[in-house]
């Protein structure tokens, strides 16, 4: 699960294949945005949308875990929090839809920066528990009687906005067919951003800090700022996913915030593979469809547990990582290094 850098050999290869890969990616993007609209049923698209958003959440968890060695268990609280903030913006603060979106996003980014500033300095286990604590505190405050006017407690909030965002009406967002290209695009943007960061200096520094934080300080690095940046970045992605979710669902409830959603995101990341930007997205899709397939809650939970074990012990690279690795072996059977970035 270590985030290795590309070997010099792979760099040479990509210099040759890069334009080809870019072309293939563009084709995939276009086809993926359009084809399902015609080929898939509305029901399938509905699940696909869920999968993409779950995938974005998984992407944020995976990035920090793989690059910085930190497990952010509170990811769902930002996802759901975005929904609640949007709802509050519309219902309680009388903001326009676009204003509410921006307000929610900004508040969450500030929150992430503040929380990160407090907790990044602790050891990884403490960090994880602190993100859990923060997440649970948010979950709990949503249920508080005192805030019922804002959050409707356990009932959840229906969110309906008038007017439009970027020319789209509320009904458009709720329509699975119209929503799919939007979710698809947002997913690609998140994925490419994360991928760019992985390959950037920030990614290299995060990986090095993960391996030996002390030596990084002794080599003149600030080990605090990069991790804080990574933390804010992933929370921004989670916030975007959460906003898309509330626009699509028109509804937000404590379930969108809870620990089980964070766990689902984690499992999705493991299934797809944490060592790439595409992996968690694919994992999210797989998880969403599997969850639909296996219905009952208890079975889903059991399979979640099984998936965690299977995808760490047996298929530690995940689906995407495994496929990438296999492809590399086919191309160059003697390459000892299978690690993707």
């Amino acid at each position: 699960m270590s985030g290795g850098a590309a070997s010099p050999v792979a760099v040479r290869y990509s210099a040759v294949g890069a334009p080809l890969a870019a072309l293939a990616a563009t084709a995939l993007f276009v086809v993926g945005a359009v084809a399902p609209i015609y080929a898939a049923s509305e029901f399938t698209l509905r699940i696909g949308n869920q999968g993409l958003l779950l995938g974005m959440l998984a992407l944020s968890v995976a990035f920090l875990m793989n690059q910085a060695g930190l497990v952010a268990l509170g990811a769902a609280s930002v996802y759901g929090g975005a929904g609640y903030l949007f709802a509050i913006g519309i219902n309680n603060w009388d903001l326009s839809a676009t204003q509410a979106l921006l307000a929610a996003f900004v508040i969450l980014v500030v929150y992430a920066a503040a929380l990160g500033a407090l907790i990044i300095r602790t050891n990884p286990l403490a960090f994880m528990m602190l993100t859990l604590a923060a997440g649970e505190m948010i979950s709990h405050s949503v249920m508080l009687e005192g805030l019922r006017d804002y959050t409707s407690g356990a009932d959840g909030l229906v969110v309906a906005f008038k007017g439009s965002i970027l020319g789209l009406q509320a009904a458009d967002f709720a329509n699975p067919v119209h929503f799919w290209p939007l979710a698809w695009t947002a997913t690609w943007i998140s994925g490419l951003t994360i991928r760019a960061v992985r390959r950037s200096r920030l990614g290299a520094v995060l990986r090095a800090v993960r391996q030996n934080e002390e030596r990084m300080r002794f080599s003149g690095f600030d080990t605090y700022a990069p991790r804080l940046m990574g933390f804010v970045l992933i929370n921004a992605v989670a916030a975007v996913a959460g906003l898309l979710h509330v626009l699509n669902a028109g509804f937000v409830s404590p379930d969108s915030l809870g620990l089980s959603l964070s766990t689902n995101a984690l499992v999705s990341a493991l299934i797809g593979g944490v060592a790439s930007a595409a992996g968690p997205i694919v994992g999210g899709l797989i998880f969403a469809f599997a969850q639909d397939e296996f219905g009952a809650y208890g079975v889903t939970q059991l399979l979640t547990g099984v998936a965690i074990v299977v995808f760490i012990v047996l298929f530690s690279k995940g689906v995407v990582g495994g496929l990438t690795s296999a492809a590399r072996h086919l191309r160059r059977p003697s390459d000892p290094k299978g690690g993707a970035r």
């Binding site: 270590s2 290299a204 990986r207 090095a208 002390e214 030596r215 300080r217 002794f218 080599s219």
Partner: protein
């Protein structure tokens, strides 16, 4: 260059360093620090490099009191250290980690270091998979990046054979002389220290016992009694 002024470091109730005063000067000078187990040698390096806060006393570097300064701050001012327990980046290749640190410290003369420490053959290897002796050299190489003025080395020969240790010392001595670095080397291998170092300080039970050139130290009765007598 480096002034250690009545430094005290306590671990709980244990006095690891007791009013140690020492001056390290001189570019190109190798200053060895020896002493029996528990003498406080590593603690001295930890305090000077910023890894541990002194309980009392001051550390002055180029005239400036640096006692409260962070580790990264010290590194940028030219104080570098290597570690007794090899501290490298196991999943990065040798080349990758050297380049990363070189980027940070603004050093474009990596090749000299790589050649001087014989790392050319290992550049593409993940550091976690190379031989222990080579890892030690990577540990030292990381400390040499960025043209440090003061190099602190904590038992560079730890886990190496006597021959490997001597070899490493000779590498370091050549580099130090050439680059006019002041080096402080904490070491267990007394022979290596005596053959390569210009000045030797002996610590015992947290106190500085003696400082002088190797011949003087060898002859010093207190040192013989505290340390060399038992080893000889």
């Amino acid at each position: 260059m480096l002034e250690i002024d009545r430094l005290c470091v306590n671990y709980g109730r244990v006095r690891a360093l007791d009013e140690v005063s020492l001056e390290i000067g001189g570019e190109g000078v190798l200053h060895g620090v020896i002493g029996p187990n528990g003498a406080g040698k590593s603690t001295l390096l930890d305090a000077v490099s910023g890894r541990r806060r002194p309980t009392q006393g001051a550390i002055r570097y180029c005239g400036q009191d640096i006692t409260g300064k962070s580790v990264a701050w010290r590194r940028h001012r030219g104080m570098a250290r290597s570690f007794q327990r090899t501290s490298i980046f196991p999943d990065l290749t040798v080349d990758e980690q050297l380049r990363l640190v070189a980027w940070r410290l603004g050093d474009d003369r990596l090749d000299e270091i790589i050649q001087a420490l014989d790392l050319t053959d290992y550049l593409r290897e993940p550091a976690g998979r190379i031989a222990y002796g080579v890892q030690r050299r990577v540990d030292v190489a990381l400390a040499l990046i960025g043209r440090p003025q003061l190099l602190l080395m904590d038992e560079p020969g730890a886990g190496l054979s006597a021959e490997e240790t001597l070899h490493l010392f000779q590498h370091v001595r050549a580099l130090v002389a050439e680059r006019r670095i002041a080096a402080v080397i904490v070491e267990h291998d007394v022979d290596a220290v005596f053959s390569c170092c210009d000045v030797v300080t002996v610590l015992d039970l947290g106190r500085r016992l003696a400082t002088g050139n190797p011949a003087e130290i060898r002859a010093d009765a207190r040192v013989v009694e505290a340390y060399l007598g038992s080893a000889a």
